[in-house]
């Protein structure tokens, strides 16, 4: 379809605010003399607090409150604010019973569908180095830090389980008393008969693959402010992707009714899934309650944020694939062990989601997935861009490359032979592939990198510097349907001049959603971008309900709500215009700030005149607004591919990326410039995942070794090659304007593509990432190459 604004690289709606320093983030709202909260973290990975003495800390001048697990959640000292204590007392729950889940999922009415509730705000049992034992509120940072040192804690140190192997060992101590074997869940799936499928195959090929713990490293650390307002409600301003969910979880964590919490989300400095979790807000609320509702600021340092928020789950995979001589896959068996760390957070959802999104790419007669999500005494793993898919696709796209090599099949042809076709219905989710351009993506990538020429050129290399090319494919989803609720809200108010305010529950977190939503409204209402004012701040008191920004759901799911809201406004405008002109509304359309004839485009009346009528008509005045919710009970599956060319220094183990291209089938692209930006960022994060990033821990103690931006090797501009982004645009019939998701997909396939390129260059298969120089060097040595 031909669009006016959709499909154009219009300027970001928040660009000017962000280049002038006027865009305000949570901490920019700090008031002078705000109290400061700080957390006492456990120095042990697994320990029980035998005794805790806070008297010296409390006596320090400038200390306003000290909290331990004994004080929460009933916060006896909150009596300073009349009403708070009564509110708290409505839920008669004991301290130990009031456990909650921090995962940023929509609430489920069915109890069985809820996340595992295993967390207290402060704990008596430390489950990782960094766990929250106590907290102080003081008049400034220095006093708060000093007070932490005055808290005397006696720990009984337990055996730390720093790997899934240790946690799964028979007789291993339990990290959570109610969790047998330290296994949160082993729920997987089976389609067809895997035993038979493997038996019928000409070959059964096995492989083992492993990924590491990495961290989001958004530039803005977790930060929030909390106070109690004159209506005795807790108000929290926070850097979050999910304001409405924060509201619920803070209330749950304190045992108060949900309406007593108000959450405000201003601009945020990146999230990547880490802010799809409720890490600091419950404690921040408790801190404010502890000081009579006065405002308290809680900001994590980088060192704290890297271990005491969330990480990406490390996985170990074992794969068995049954394949025929012609390259047709009959059956796939995958077992996975996912390390979720000390608390469940998103827990088994990560393993389930990875296995679910993987299913769309290569439909086979039989597929069996056996994932195990395991507690360990390491920092808590949660949502991170890709949500389980970078792990499983690293494993399988490495594996299929190994198969191709072993059977002497062309790596591209083997994939093309097995990838899904349009019309396929996934037997488990029942989601239908209504648009699929994976083959076209592969062809485009092949051409961009000059695959055939380079493949021929790089055969049989022997020197110290070797080059190779590799590729990998992926499938993803647009939102979470049918697993979770996909509700989105949008509200539009038309002003007297025909311009509009657009209010959303979906949050702008840097990805550019505010801009693409504005483009959608601009397109439907025939008004220029500058007449669409997006209210970027979410406030749960005012903002329409939407579960938030995650799962690459905004443009697709929240976009549906935006389109619906805009269409409703359009209908109302045309109805008013019709009443003013006696021209039937169905003959009219909106274009260039006017009501026009649909067929000829001839102008009928200016939009502004209609808007004025709607405000001031003596009889029929009714300003034009819409306020809609959309429950998306559908999904669209995006696909894509990475092609990479690498140069490997055989003497030092250093891998350099010479060229890298991501080609995406994400349906219609609403804003090419912003879409490319998503691809660049995702690929860059994936390059770190493949080559340099890993959070390291002392195996014996579980102590973090590199939780800072110097020792944790986040790619700098010097480490990042030119990244090529391309799209095969085929409109999906279900998405607004034909879109499918794009936010997370770019991170899924680069790591295996790079690994496969290294295999092509060196003949060495790296089945564990990151492939940092040390590991590469050691492996080359082990293989006798150096």
């Amino acid at each position: 379809m031909a669009y006016t604004v959709v499909g154009k690289s219009v300027r970001r709606v928040d660009a000017v605010a962000k280049v002038t320093g006027r865009a305000k983030y949570t901490d920019d709202f700090s008031e002078r003399n705000m109290l400061v909260g700080k957390i006492l973290h456990s120095p042990y990975a697994h320990a029980i607090v035998k005794s805790i003495d806070v008297s010296k800390a409390k006596a320090l001048p400038g200390v306003e409150a000290v909290l331990t697990y004994k004080d929460l959640p009933d916060i006896r000292f909150a009596t300073a604010i009349p009403g708070i204590i009564e509110a708290m007392a409505t839920d008669e729950v004991g301290v130990a019973e009031l456990k909650y889940s921090t995962a940023g999922h929509p609430y489920a009415l069915e109890e069985t569908h809820r996340d595992k509730e295993d967390r207290n705000i402060l704990t008596q049992k430390a489950r990782f180095v960094g766990d929250n034992i106590a907290a102080v509120v003081a008049t400034d940072d220095l006093i708060a830090s000093k007070a932490l040192k005055l808290i005397e804690v006696e720990y009984e140190v337990l055996e730390p389980l720093t790997s899934t192997d240790a946690a799964l060992k028979e007789g291993a101590p339990l990290i959570h008393d109610d969790c047998e074997g330290n296994i949160i869940s082993s729920k997987g799936y089976e389609m067809g008969n895997i035993e038979e499928a493997l038996k019928e195959s000409d070959h059964v090929i096995e492989g083992e693959y492993e990924t590491s713990i990495v961290q989001h490293c958004h530039l803005e650390n977790q930060v929030s402010h909390a106070y109690v307002d004159s209506d005795r409600r807790i108000v929290i301003m926070t850097s979050t992707q999910i304001p409405h969910i924060v509201r619920r979880i803070v209330a749950q964590s304190l045992g108060i009714s949900w309406g007593r919490v108000r959450v405000i989300k201003p601009y945020i400095g990146g999230g990547f899934g880490n802010k799809q979790d409720v890490c600091i807000e419950p404690l921040n609320a408790a801190m404010s309650l502890a000081v009579g509702g006065r405002p308290v600021r809680l900001e994590l340092s980088r060192e704290e944020a890297m271990i005491d928020t969330r990480t990406r789950h490390a996985f170990k995979f074992k794969i068995k694939t049954g394949i025929n001589n012609d390259g047709k896959i009959n059956g796939i068996y995958i077992s996975a062990v996912s390390n979720t760390g000390a608390y469940a957070s998103h827990g088994h959802s990560i393993a389930s989601s990875g296995g679910g999104k993987f299913r769309y790419l290569y439909p086979t007669k039989a597929l069996k997935y056996e994932p195990l999500t395991v507690y360990t005494n390491l920092p808590v793993a949660g949502a991170m861009r890709g949500y389980g898919t970078p792990q499983i696709f690293f494993a399988f796209e490495s594996h299929i490359e190994d198969i191709a090599k072993k059977l002497n099949l062309d790596p591209i042809e083997i994939r093309k032979k097995n990838v899904v076709k349009e019309g396929h219905v996934d037997p488990l989710s029942k989601n239908t592939i209504r648009s699929c351009s994976i083959r076209e993506c592969i062809d485009k990538g092949r051409e961009l990198i000059k695959w055939d020429a380079k493949k021929a050129l790089y055969k049989e290399q022997t020197g110290d510097i070797r080059r190779g090319v590799g590729m990998a494919c992926f499938s993803y989803a647009s939102g979470t349907y049918p697993v979770a609720l996909e509700l989105a809200g949008a509200r539009i108010v038309m002003n007297q001049d025909g311009s509009v305010q657009l209010q959303l529950g979906a949050t702008e977190i840097g990805q550019g959603s505010d801009t693409v939503f504005a483009q959608m409204v601009s397109e439907v209402l025939g008004i220029p971008m500058y007449m669409v004012h997006v209210i970027s701040t979410q406030d749960t008191d005012i903002t329409p309900f939407d579960t938030g920004s995650y799962a690459s759901r905004q443009t697709y799911v929240s976009g549906m709500a935006v389109e619906k809201a805009a269409l409703e406004v359009k209908k109302k405008v045309l109805t008013v215009a019709s009443s003013m002109t006696d021209i039937p509304a169905h003959l009219l359309d909106l274009k260039e700030q006017s009501v026009v004839f649909k067929d000829s485009g001839e102008k009928v009346i200016e939009l502004e005149v209609v808007a004025m009528q709607s405000y001031y008509d003596r009889v029929n005045a009714q300003p034009i607004t819409s306020d809609v919710s959309n429950n998306a009970r559908i999904n669209a599956i995006p696909f894509g591919v990475t092609f990479a060319e690498v140069e490997v220094d055989m003497k030092t183990g250093k891998i350099k990326i010479l060229e890298i291209y991501n080609v995406h089938d994400s349906g219609k692209i609403i804003n090419p410039l912003l879409a490319e930006g998503q691809v660049h960022g995702g690929v860059s994060m994936a390059i770190g995942y493949a080559l340099s990033e890993q959070l390291l821990f002392d195996e014996k103690t579980g102590k973090p070794l590199n939780n800072n931006l110097l020792d944790y090797k986040l790619p700098t501009i010097m480490d990042t090659p030119d990244i090529g982004a391309a799209f095969v645009e085929k409109e999906d019939p279900t998405g607004p304007f034909g879109v499918k998701s794009l936010g997370e997909p770019p991170i899924v396939s680069p790591a295996p593509a790079i690994r496969n390129a290294v295999l092509d260059a060196t003949d060495v298969a790296f089945n564990r990432i990151p492939m940092n120089p040390q590991r590469v060097f050691e492996k080359f040595k082990e293989q006798g190459l150096i």
């Binding site: 690289s9 280049v19 305000k24 700090s30 400095g269 501009i717 010097m718």
Partner: protein, 168 residues
């Protein structure tokens, strides 16, 4: 302990007492309201807190406020024209799509501004090195580099046999 310091920020003179333990970032953000400088790490790793001190990009989180005595400081709030018109560097960042979450943006714009104002020529690799003190997790640096190149138009040598590259 407090010490009186005098400096200018974006051309305006200030003269007041600061706690000797405070960083320049604290003073700029908390006392003077220049919140465009961001704290990303607090230890000089990420560059989000950069401002120009006498024209030199500096991490203010590890720069004591007392050291700023007598200095001329420029923050992101002082980059655009007084009438609100964006500088060429700011325009380049907007046009090239170099902005996503925006948290690293002020620091990068200031460093790019300093490079532009230096009048020097840079190769692409040199430009990358100059910008490498700024971490960004959203953009993969692609459009940031494009924006910086556009800002320095005429001063980026792309060919290896340019006089600059040969050190002539």
């Amino acid at each position: 302990m407090f010490k009186r310091i005098a400096f200018t920020v974006n051309g305006k003179a200030y003269n007041f007492e600061v706690d000797v333990r405070e960083s320049l970032l604290d003073v700029l953000r908390s006392h003077l309201g220049f919140t465009g400088a961001k704290q990303g790490c607090g230890v000089g790793e990420c560059g989000a807190c950069s401002v120009l001190i006498d024209g030199v990009p500096t991490d203010t989180c590890i720069y004591l406020a007392v050291w700023a005595d007598g200095k001329d400081i420029r923050t992101i709030e002082g980059v655009a024209e007084k009438n609100g018109e964006l500088s060429d560097v700011q325009k380049a960042f907007v046009d090239e799509g170099a902005v996503q979450c925006g948290f690293c943006t002020p620091g990068l714009i200031l460093t790019t501004t300093a490079l532009k104002e230096s009048g020097k020529d840079y190769t692409r690799e040199e430009l990358k090195r100059e910008l490498s003190g700024h971490l960004c997790r959203c953009t993969g640096y692609q459009n940031i580099l494009k924006a910086a190149e556009k800002s320095l138009e005429g001063h980026v040598c792309t060919c290896v046999d340019s006089p600059h590259y040969k050190g002539e």
